[in-house]
Symmetry: C2
Subunit: 245 residues, 2 copies
């Protein structure tokens, strides 16, 4: 039986302020919740339908509330709730490391939760285990971001930091796609580096742009289209790095 208070507690986790006050975030559906449990994220509360509880072996030390489909609907941030909604403890904010090898992503003001979620999923696919975000990038624990990652948020480390300062301290080459960049298909790409992706409308900020050591361009095949979506550009760029490595 679901209480009004429980509904209120879950629903307010839509807001960053409440996520940080409560050190908690929401994940939904067997895939995303399962992936977070699998890597050791600590659930604070599970709300699940009986069929899910009957078929899923969960040995977790947290409150579990069996809910009906109607009750789940009241908690859920999804149009079509998926059997289980979990409130997890926010991971401790580790000190932001400075990468000295391997490939990382840096996001400079990505605003759309769907884009950030998709970028986290792309990073996971291509084995990029850290994403460094400017402080004005959308919060990764936003329920829309968590869902769009399809579980990948469990396997990628996400840090928020003063991005220009962070990039300036890294010894690695800094790649970014810019209008005056060189054709990515023809450039040499190193196995170690930071790939910067910018804001949806304005691209990479002036401050960060000055720190880019290797400017790249994904060439359009013809005139007409002005730009690619930031997640699409991230995918093509990561694919180019990985196919050579």
């Amino acid at each position: 039986m679901l209480s009004k208070n429980q509904i209120k507690l879950v629903r307010q986790l839509e807001q960053k302020k409440h996520r940080h006050l409560n050190h908690a975030f929401v994940a939904e559906g067997p895939k995303v919740v399962g992936d977070l449990l699998a890597v050791g994220y600590q659930p604070l509360h599970l709300f699940a339908t009986t069929p899910w509880l009957m078929t899923t072996p969960v040995a977790v030390d947290c409150d579990v509330t069996a809910v009906s489909e109607e009750e789940l609907q009241k908690l859920s941030f999804l149009q079509h709730p998926q059997q289980v909604l979990a409130v997890f403890r926010l991971p401790e904010t580790a000190e932001c490391p400075v990468p000295t090898n391997g490939l990382s992503l840096a996001l400079d003001g990505v605003q759309d939760p769907g884009n950030l979620g998709t970028i986290i999923r792309i990073a996971d696919w291509f084995g990029i285990d850290s994403i460094f975000c400017s402080t004005d990038t959308v919060d990764a624990w936003n329920p829309k971001v968590v869902q769009a990652t399809m579980g990948s948020i469990a396997r990628v480390n996400i840090y928020y930091t003063d991005l220009p300062q962070f990039i300036a301290t890294s010894p690695l080459p800094v790649y970014g796609t810019l209008l005056d960049g060189k054709n990515i298909y023809e450039e040499e790409l190193s196995a170690d580096g930071i790939i910067v992706m910018g804001n949806e409308g304005n691209g990479i900020s002036q401050k960060v742009r000055l720190l880019i050591t290797n400017k790249l361009l994904i060439p359009a095949y013809h005139e007409g289209p002005e730009s690619l979506n930031v997640a699409i550009a991230t995918a093509i760029t990561c694919s180019e790095f990985r196919r050579r490595g």
Copy 2:
């Protein structure tokens, strides 16, 4: 001055039934509306704020209604309306051609409007001028699709057809990404062909799968992630075809 009837007429174009009954669809914002006007799409009605009307030279033979920001909000399908909303005539459904050269996309049951819009934008970027959709693919004139294309819908031809029958009549190689496919980075890819992308949850349907002549795989860098978003997979696949051509 906006009438209640005008609001109703525009708002009901959210539904496919009404778009086809009225032979009309909605596009919003200077970029998308501008791109459609530029290639000759016929506007039936323009609703625009005075600043847009003052700065945009539009020589169009259609009704124009000057609206306030508040009035535009009542018409708009966007969270943040963008100066102009246009009702355009649906393009005549041309007979679906059978491509005999070049690269085309075929979509087998893509459901999410954002994904379809992004795929149209990718096709435009890579100079793929035709997309063939199964009849159960989401309607391209859905306002969410139109907006997600960022104007690219003006430059890409979209056909709805019996996809298995269509593919069976084409003489071109048929590419598709499947779990038992060959590493896309190592395969030979022709300059002519049809690239099939499947449904978000179920991938390519059984019927269409049987018609694929060249099975491809975008290799994951490590274990963990199960799949890529369909628009992301489309982008990586198109990028691979074009960088070699």
